[in-house]
């Protein structure tokens, strides 16, 4: 029992399950391999088989598509010769105009701010972590991207728009516009970014909060000197 080798603090392979706190050592994973918690089944580690620049490429694409999705109209409506269009922001703005401030803020956060925040923070993290040691604030950005992720609801919004279209189809003629197709692409890009990214790899390249330089990668023979300007 006590000769169990699991305990070393700082062993990068030793991990505690976030869902049940069980200590375990993650074996070297093959590309595309996954490690699950032996007790509760929670996914503990994955090793992407994708090239290392894929998350960055996906995030850059997502940024461009996001700009299109937010600036172009989602759909147009015409009835009795009158026409109307709406954008994502236009939806939230109309809610605000109608006296539903709470709903307007919630919609703006889930449909605009959280998706944009996630992509921007990820972009900064991926660019900054390209050459280790990356400064401490990159860790804050990664934490914020993580916090934004569950609130970024482009997929839920898309289904909501489709249901709204069916409801309105009874009253008027509606046609999807460019913004709608951009949202459709975003729905595929968001999960692709998180699947292709291994946050553990990013954390390993960051300068520690207590001033330590990140552990040198196995392939680099000379340890990098700690960069200056960090607070102890």
């Amino acid at each position: 029992m006590t000769d169990d080798p699991i305990a070393p603090e700082g062993d990068p392979a030793a991990r505690a399950c976030p869902d049940c706190d069980l200590l375990q050592v993650i074996p070297e994973l093959p590309p595309g391999g996954k490690a699950r918690c032996a007790r509760c089944g929670r996914m503990l580690a994955t090793r992407s088989s994708a090239p290392s620049d894929l998350p960055l490429a996906l995030t850059l694409t997502a940024l461009l598509v996001l700009i299109v999705a937010n600036t172009m109209p989602l759909m147009g409506l015409s009835v009795a010769g009158r026409q109307a269009i709406t954008t994502i922001g236009g939806g939230a703005y109309q809610m605000w105009l109608q006296g539903q401030e709470v709903t307007a803020v919630t919609v703006a956060f889930c449909a605009l701010i959280a998706p944009a925040g996630y992509i921007l923070f990820m972009l900064i993290v991926l660019l900054a972590a390209k050459r280790p040691p990356a400064p401490q604030w990159v860790g804050d950005m990664l934490r914020w991207a993580d916090a934004m992720q569950p609130w970024a609801m482009v997929d839920v919004m898309m289904l909501g728009i489709l249901v709204a279209l069916v409801k309105i189809a009874d009253l008027a003629r509606v046609e999807p516009d460019i913004g709608m197709y951009a949202v459709g692409i975003l729905i595929l890009l968001f999960p692709a970014i998180s699947v292709s990214l291994n946050p553990e790899e990013i954390w390993a390249r960051l300068e520690w909060a207590d001033g330590e330089s990140p552990l040198p990668a196995p392939e680099t023979s000379t340890p990098e000197p700690p960069s200056s300007g960090s607070t102890p």
Partner: protein, 213 residues
Amino acid sequence: MRTSPLTAAQAGLVNCETCGLLSQPASAAEPGYCPRCGMALEWRRPRSIQTTWALVTAAAICYIPANLLPVLGTTTLGSTEYDTIMGGVVFLYTTGSWPLALIVLIASVMVPLGKLVALSYLLITVQRGSIRSNRERTRLYRMVEIIGRWSMLDVFVDTFTVALVQLKPLMSIQPGPGVAFFAAVVVLTMIAASTFDPRLIWDAGVDKEFRNA
């Protein structure tokens, strides 16, 4: 025969919830900060049970007006008709298509109610120190975390219906007070899921000192 599994807490190690680094704090009472990412370390999420109960209760209270108050009002030529969430489901069923009616029914009525019931069940079993079906309860918790955001569906439906149908004086659709309560239910249950600490499910019968009273 079977060696009992060792948790990080039993080994005197704290798992950083932000970056996943295991560290050995100098003092068990004050774990301090993660040496790598600098976040405050906690053995378990602080005041997990009380905070989650408070959020679940608040969400349950909002769930009632969310379903009883109208979410949409349709004005055609001066007369206005109000619709609740269930009214919207019935409308989709009769004029649209039943698959969409079913999706809205599941996402807006059953998912929020299911989240409230599931979180209450998890809180009660943790408080009673249950040691049964831990794996299933952990799975239930993960499901609440994953599907939680889909109950936002009707808020988006209402938002884009309102945004598009503004053809005054011909026809216009306004939001009703039910939408704000509904959005509140979704936000409160999502935060409730994140304040609940699933490790408490496994702490029962192992280490009472880590259970937040």
